[in-house]
């Protein structure tokens, strides 16, 4: 019952005009960047970070949540209408959705994607509402050894699951960990890996690294391998709508997609690729018209889209309750919390209930807004694609420069931008995953602090690290994750 009254208070916060405005702003921005190539939710939130100094935390997070959800909606639009899945999570949507659009059923595909995202987003938010406080309650009993084991689990899973090679995943992770070590050591005040450059004493800002990797790296990569998009836009005007028959075929895949997406999204390293792939495979197995798959089956859009959105809500569970980011977007959200001097985790629920519940309530509001923004206005969003690529990427670089310069007006940051941008280019050419760098950068200091606290409490005896059942369980799980690629390869072969 307590959850209900807290949620009601949350709605009181989320429905304040100023917060409604930020929810709308976030939803519009999110949908736009979801439609546009070359820019995703993590980069957008990172670029918005400096602006937040003049915005109250609650409003800022409500806006970020709008960006996170909006990008999912916008991403499905381009997948369906021009067959360019902007991220791994919408690959399956493009598979069936674009075929539907070509067969003149684009409106149905867009509608089932938007409504499915709405249903999944709402159910997942509902699950978040009740699961988050319970998990936060458990997290109160976590000891430093447990937290350290949990970060090890997060590291292993992220390095293993994201990308195609375990070794390259771990290289990315360790580069992130090394970047996270730069600066003054919090516990002893000693400068580490600064090599005498005073500007590095404050450490590497996550926003700088993220913007360099995602914006500069991407621009360098696309510029060197640019090919004009040959796939034409399937014309689409007016409303996206569906028939009763489409609805009848869609609602079960929506629910199944949500059931897959939410828990997997909440797991470290779960991401959105695996649940959407699972959902697609499941729908093809269960469908009464399996022959339609590959030629535009609506179940193949409905299920994965729902899974994708539910997974996006799922990442908020470990982030809010444990302070554990499991994706690039979650990492930048964690950085935003830190910018406000807030540490997500169990204490956030007791110390800042207004923020947490306002944020959760705004997710319900945001979903309704996005549905309204996307169903009738889809023709308008598609027009964004008429921005020519040269000017679009040029604009992205300008905003990236503003974002990085705005952090601390430091030329060293700008030099870092170029070096890390070239690193981002190399990582794309040699297929290194990028998210583990960010997770390592932001979680590394936390892992180290927990390790040192745990060891200090155990008077330096490393046995303390496996002294609780939970820490053992996490470390065993981390070990199991090392075997995950074999399982995943089988899944891919089956998809």
């Amino acid at each position: 019952m307590e959850t209900f009254s807290l949620l009601l208070q949350g709605f009181g916060v989320a429905l304040q005009p100023i917060n409604l405005f930020y929810a709308l702003l976030g939803s519009v921005l999110g949908t736009a960047i979801g439609v546009l190539p070359g820019i995703g939710p993590a980069l957008t939130i990172a670029l918005l970070l400096p602006v937040t100094i003049s915005v109250a935390p609650t409003s800022a997070f409500i806006m970020f949540a709008g960006v996170l959800y909006g990008a999912m909606y916008g991403g499905s639009t381009t997948s369906i209408l021009i067959n360019t899945p902007g991220e791994a999570g919408s690959m399956m949507t493009a598979l069936e959705g674009n075929r539907m659009a070509r067969a003149g059923r684009g409106a149905s595909a867009l509608a089932t994607a938007a409504l499915g995202s709405f249903v999944a987003g709402t159910i997942a938010t509902l699950l978040l509402t009740f699961a988050a406080p319970a998990i936060a309650e458990i997290a109160f009993y976590f000891r430093p050894a447990d937290y350290f084991a949990l970060t090890v689990l997060a590291f292993t899973s992220v390095a293993v699951v994201m990308g195609s090679s375990r070794v390259r995943g771990f290289v990315s992770l360790f580069i992130g960990l090394a970047l996270g070590l730069v600066g003054i050591d919090q516990m002893t005040g000693q400068a580490r890996l600064t090599f005498g450059v005073p500007a590095l004493f404050d450490g590497m800002e996550l926003a700088v690294v993220l913007v360099s990797l995602f914006a500069v790296g991407e621009i360098l990569y696309v510029a060197s391998r640019y090919r004009k998009n040959a796939s034409e836009i399937v014309p689409m005007r007016g409303w996206a709508w569906m028939s009763w028959e489409d609805l009848r075929r869609s609602w079960k895949p929506w629910l199944r997609g949500t059931a897959l997406g939410f828990p997997i999204g909440a797991l470290p390293g779960g991401g959105s690729e695996i649940p959407t792939m699972l959902s697609y495979t499941l729908e093809r197995r269960l469908s009464k018209h399996p022959e339609e798959f590959g030629h535009g089956a609506i179940e193949g859009v409905a299920g994965p889209e729902a899974a994708n959105n539910a997974a996006a809500a799922g990442i908020l569970i470990p982030l809010l309750t444990l302070g554990l980011p499991t994706s690039a977007t979650a990492a930048v959200l964690l950085a935003a919390f830190q910018n406000y001097g807030l540490q997500p985790g169990p204490f956030l629920f007791t110390n800042n209930p207004e923020l947490v519940w306002g944020l959760i309530a705004s997710l319900y509001v945001g979903n309704v807004m996005l549905l309204v923004l996307n169903l009738p206005l889809v023709g308008l969003w598609v027009r964004l694609l008429s921005i020519p690529a040269p000017q679009l990427y040029a604009g992205i670089l300008v905003f990236a420069t503003i974002g990085i310069w705005g952090v601390s007006n430091s030329v060293v940051d700008l030099i870092a931008m170029v070096i890390i941008g070239i690193m981002g280019y190399v990582m794309r050419v040699y297929d290194f995953p990028i998210a583990p760098v960010l997770i390592g950068l932001i979680l590394g200091p936390m892992a180290e602090q927990q390790l040192r606290t745990a060891l200090a409490a155990g008077q330096g005896n490393p046995v303390v690290l496996v002294s609780t059942p939970l820490s053992v369980a996490f470390l065993v799980l981390a070990g199991l994750f090392l075997l995950a690629p074999v399982v995943l390869r089988r899944l891919r072969a089956g998809a």
Partner: protein, 171 residues
């Protein structure tokens, strides 16, 4: 006999495509961390570990991973460039475009303090647009300048410190 076409030249012929430097770079990064860790105490008095240990661990990890990567490269590990929107991993790099875009990213280092954000934005914008094949340079320069000036006004108003509008002229 379509079946007998050899897929790739065997042996020494493919050595040029092997990115040894990639593994070497990871090892070098690890060594850099280890070098940085040398000057730090590994153990503190009360806590079992000091500020240096984690640095040593990360450096050691990077060296190890770099060596494994070198081993993989020796065993002909395939690196497939990532496919993204607007770019195909299958295509080979077009270096003039790459370096033009790189120049755009480098420009702010030299211009932002003296020439300010709007002019920097103008330069970067025009260079990236050129790298992507746009030859409407005058239009791009103008669009970049307007975008830079408007962003400067908007973000400064939002409380962001972006430096002077045109520092050379003292504005």
């Amino acid at each position: 006999m379509p079946n007998s076409i050899p897929e790739a030249p065997a042996g020494g012929g493919s050595d040029t495509a092997r990115p040894w430097w990639l593994g070497g770079l990871v090892v070098a990064l690890g060594c850099l961390c280890l070098y940085g860790a040398f000057s730090l105490p590994q153990a503190a008095r009360y806590a079992g570990i000091g500020p240096g240990l984690f640095v040593t661990l990360v450096g050691g990890g990077l060296v190890l991973l770099g060596l494994i990567l070198l081993l993989q490269i020796a065993r002909d590990e395939q690196f497939i460039p990532q496919d993204t929107e607007d770019a195909s991993g299958g295509e080979s790099a077009h270096w003039p475009a790459f370096f033009t875009a790189l120049a755009a990213a480098l420009a702010p280092i030299f211009t932002i303090e003296r020439l300010g954000m709007p002019i920097t934005a103008m330069l970067s914008f025009a260079l990236v647009a050129h790298a992507f094949g746009s030859r409407k340079t005058v239009v791009n320069v103008l669009v970049g300048a307007v975008l830079g000036a408007l962003s400067w006004l908007l973000f400064t108003r939002l409380g962001l410190q972006l430096g002077g509008f045109l520092p050379m002229a003292g504005i």
